[in-house]
């Protein structure tokens, strides 16, 4: 991430009722950046401060080279003059307006020259084009949230802020919305700052990951790299695993599909996507085991050589987390402390990883 003006900068410091926030964020000006952490870690406060909904004294906020707040220079751009879109946890649609008027609300307040999207096109992108004449109280929770996302997009923001947009929805509604979020990511070149406490959502959507804990940034970096860090606090290590972006390369004769990543190929059950599709998969540390030599008689299909880069203890008694690299691609394995001792696993050691499960995220 370059320090030049395309990205998102936010320096926030806040002390309040036993809660301290101190973050200095430098995020890329494209893709989805996830702010991830347990509740009370300050995620939402960060988002509200960046939007200007909450005024944090002494803060500095700049997006795409435009300074939104710099108290040292006496700059505070009011919320309604910031080119941002904001999606709240609850859809917060205007109850007195139908869907079309809700969508038009922000769009018509943007000067015509700055409007990048047509109402109908965005409605179609989010699959709400058949709901335009409905009142918000006649929509399902998932539909309401899609309208809220479309409404925010129609202001042609330079930054889209999403505060746990799926948290208030049940599992089915979440699954209904996630593909639309992926479409936003793939079809719009708009940076999105996405707050979540769900590892699954983050693994599926994010390109860049910021881990927050108790008001501080624990880690920040590209998703794959950050998830593969073995030194994270237990909150994150519990669900440890890495995310790989792969390309569907082809199908083997025995029905398996080949997913190519930078440093190798994974075999998974037959995929129906077109050859060349980009697929993201997640490999949990608990699904990876290690062997000193290539096991000649294993039932596991995905066997790859890797080098150990670190081992750390976990909060799970008797277990360690092993960080490895397959070429440049990081991987995590969770093994028992006994195995680590008996196999003498230490940094620099080359061995074979057996990947028991690959979860396709998209």
């Amino acid at each position: 991430m370059e320090a030049h003006d395309a990205g998102i900068r936010a320096r926030l410091r806040l002390q309040r009722d036993g809660f301290a926030l101190e973050v200095d964020l430098a995020l890329p000006g494209h893709g989805i950046s996830a702010l991830f952490g347990p509740s009370g870690s300050g995620k939402t406060t960060c988002l509200r401060a960046i939007a200007g909904l909450e005024r944090v004294p002494g803060a500095y906020v700049a997006v795409g080279g435009e300074v939104w707040q710099d108290d040292a220079a006496g700059i505070f751009v009011p919320v309604h003059r910031r080119a941002l879109g904001y999606v709240f946890q609850e859809a917060s649609l205007f109850a007195h307006l139908d869907v079309r008027a809700n969508l038009a609300f922000g769009r018509q307040r943007v000067p015509p020259g700055e409007r990048r999207f047509e109402l109908e096109a965005v409605a179609a992108l989010l699959g709400i084009d058949h709901l335009l004449e409905r009142r918000p109280d006649r929509l399902s929770g998932g539909e309401r949230q899609r309208v809220a996302i479309a409404r925010a997009l129609l202001t042609s923001p330079r930054l889209l802020l999403m505060d746990e947009p799926l948290a208030a929805l049940d599992h089915r509604r979440k699954q209904e919305i996630l593909p639309y979020l992926e479409r936003l990511h793939d079809e719009l070149s708009m940076p999105i700052l996405y707050v979540s406490h769900s590892p699954d959502e983050v693994a599926r959507l994010a390109d860049h990951l910021v881990l927050l804990d108790a008001g501080r940034v624990v880690a920040s970096g590209p998703l794959g790299e950050t998830l593969a860090r073995a030194d994270l606090p237990p909150t994150f290590a519990d669900d440890a695993g890495v995310v790989l972006d792969t390309v569907l390369e082809g199908h083997a004769e025995d029905g398996l599909s080949r997913l190519a990543f930078a440093d190798g190929v994974l075999h998974v059950g037959r995929r129906s996507e077109a050859i060349g599709s980009r697929l993201r998969c997640r490999i949990h540390a608990r699904d990876v085991s290690l062997a000193l030599s290539r096991p000649p008689d294993s039932s596991i299909v995905n066997l790859l050589p890797a080098v150990v880069t670190a081992t750390v203890g976990t909060d799970r008694p008797g277990h360690v987390l092993v960080q490895l690299r397959m070429g440049g691609t990081p991987l995590l394995a969770r093994i028992t402390e006994r195995s680590r001792r008996e196999l003498d696993i230490a940094p620099g050691r080359t061995l074979w990883v057996q990947i028991k499960g690959v979860a396709l995220l998209r």
Binding site: H80, G85, Y86, S92, F105, R109, V110
Partner: protein
């Protein structure tokens, strides 16, 4: 009903209409401020607005009479402005009625504004609406039931006034003699038949107004006082 009765009815409707419009214009910003402020003055302002609910109309009428009289600050002001003195005029009645009916307008509006919550206003700000724009395009439409209650209660309460009118306006035909005073006159004169007509009309009017409001908007009066 004779001509005097009709004049009283007409005057009452005129007074209630003017007062209601003024109450909405003045009460809305007060209610908005009360609903959103964290100022320590909030309680004091709420108490002042609510005073007419507990004070006898004679007390309010008495102080207004003093203020608007030749030696009162308001009286001196109006005299200096060339308007003359306000007691025993229609304008004087309007001012007294606005003060006297203020809580009936401010309280439903304040509750309606408070019920909107912070979120729709924040959403509007993120959709490029300035605070002024947000007030008109989001807060006012969402507070519509509150405006309906406020207008109906303000109007009905002004129609139902008696004590303040007598204190400030006296009993001048076609100027300050409203229906409630006219009924009083009829009763004093033992003209019970005429008193009945007007009294029954008032009763019916008030019932219908409240009935319509509760039917259209059952929430309207809940917490409105």
């Amino acid at each position: 009903m004779d001509a005097a009765d009709l004049a009283a009815v007409w005057l009452t409707l005129k007074l209630a209409t003017v007062v209601t419009l003024l109450l909405l214009a003045l009460g809305t910003p007060v209610a908005w401020w009360l609903a959103r402020t964290r100022s320590r003055l909030k309680s004091a302002v709420m108490a002042v607005v609510a005073l007419p609910l507990v004070l006898p109309p004679t007390v309010i009428g008495f102080y207004l009479l003093l203020a608007m009289g030749p030696n009162g600050w308001l009286g001196k002001l109006t005299t200096a402005l060339g308007i003359g003195l306000l007691p025993f005029t229609f304008a004087g009645l309007v001012i007294a009625s606005v003060l006297y009916s203020m809580p009936f307008v401010v309280q439903p509006l304040q509750n309606a504004f408070a019920a909107i919550g912070e979120r729709p206003l924040e959403a509007a700000a993120t959709l490029r609406a300035s605070p002024w724009d947000t007030f008109w395009s989001v807060a006012v439409p969402l507070a519509r039931p509150g405006f309906l209650s406020a207008a109906v209660l303000g109007f009905a309460h002004t129609v139902g006034e008696f004590g303040v009118v007598l204190m400030i306006g006296g009993n001048i035909p076609a100027q300050t003699r409203v229906v409630s005073v006219q009924i009083y006159d009829h009763v004093e004169a033992l003209e019970y038949a005429q008193a009945h007509w007007l009294a029954a009309a008032m009763l019916a009017f008030s019932f219908v107004v409240l009935l319509v409001m509760y039917t259209l908007n059952p929430q309207a009066l809940k917490g409105g006082r």
